[in-house]
Symmetry: C2
Subunit: 136 residues, 2 copies
DNA sequence: TACTAAATTGTAATCATTACAATTTAACAC
DNA sequence: GTGTTAAATTGTAATGATTACAATTTAGTA
């Protein structure tokens, strides 16, 4: 059975071609794309695709924790099929979002505050290696 | 000399009454307010205040690192006069943003990636203690 | 194959933020 | 204190991401 069909089936989500292509796109493009980037790319081969559907699919996949959304850029959400806890770097020059593989040793300590914790995000912002080289 | 005047002077920022009241508001309201919350409150006693000016003031203060902006909610920026590194909790029910006083032991490790680091944000999302109690 | 709740689609609305041009003003020199 | 000027403020319009909504289509099931 197709990998993406299986993911949706396991989560009791209706299987639609639109959800499958969004999921496939995120699986093959781990660049933390925006809804618009996903839509613009998929629209080429799926001319009937609606941007609302992309938003709906991303919402559904997020709700089921199949993907996670990032608020790192401030002006738009970005999506990540890697829903495990990892940190992110945002480059203020090129706008790229890069994975930062660091374990957060504070997770246990956070429980002491008495809040119910659903998500933990580590956002680092600055200028990426490449832009540093290019800009000098 | 007035506390807020001194802050602007030290940063070589022109002293305007608008910047002073925004700064004072953030100093006395450490609730991580939005631009609109700041504007709506200050507008009452400063009827000529423009929302654009609030945005401009927040931008200027952020650029000079007098305040920091948070992208934790995803749909709007929030502002914090405490520009030191500390973490934040966002309650999905009441929308409150709460300080989480935790040191991040990863800061040193982040330098190894070769990027220039300007900001580090730790965002925790879930349901706050109070809402847990109320909602049951 | 027929039924139905849910998903998709296209359009319009919303909301935070930014752009811009006209007016006002803070800082500085005299 | 007065005059000068670059910068700040103001109000309005534009932008851009996201959401609301109603009509149409479709996935899952019997
Ligand atoms: Mn990632
Ligand atoms: Mn804070
Ligand atoms: Zn870069
Ligand atoms: Zn709460």
């Amino acid at each position: 059975m197709d990998k993406y069909v299986k993911i949706l089936k396991n989560n009791h989500i209706k299987i639609t071609p639109q959800r499958l292509v969004v999921l496939e796109y995120l699986d093959k493009n781990c660049t933390h794309p925006t809804a618009d980037e996903i839509y613009s790319y998929l629209k080429k081969k799926n001319p009937s695709l609606s941007k609302t559907t992309v938003y709906n699919a991303l919402e559904t996949l997020s709700k089921h924790r199949i993907i996670q959304s990032l608020t790192i850029s401030g002006s738009e959400l970005r999506y990540d099929i890697d829903h495990g806890m990892h940190h992110h770097f945002y480059c203020k020059i090129c706008g790229n979002v890069i994975d930062i593989e660091l374990k957060c040793p504070n997770i246990e300590k956070m429980k002491q505050f008495g809040h119910k914790i659903d998500e933990i995000h580590g956002y680092i912002k600055g200028i990426c290696k490449n832009c540093l080289k290019r800009e000098g």
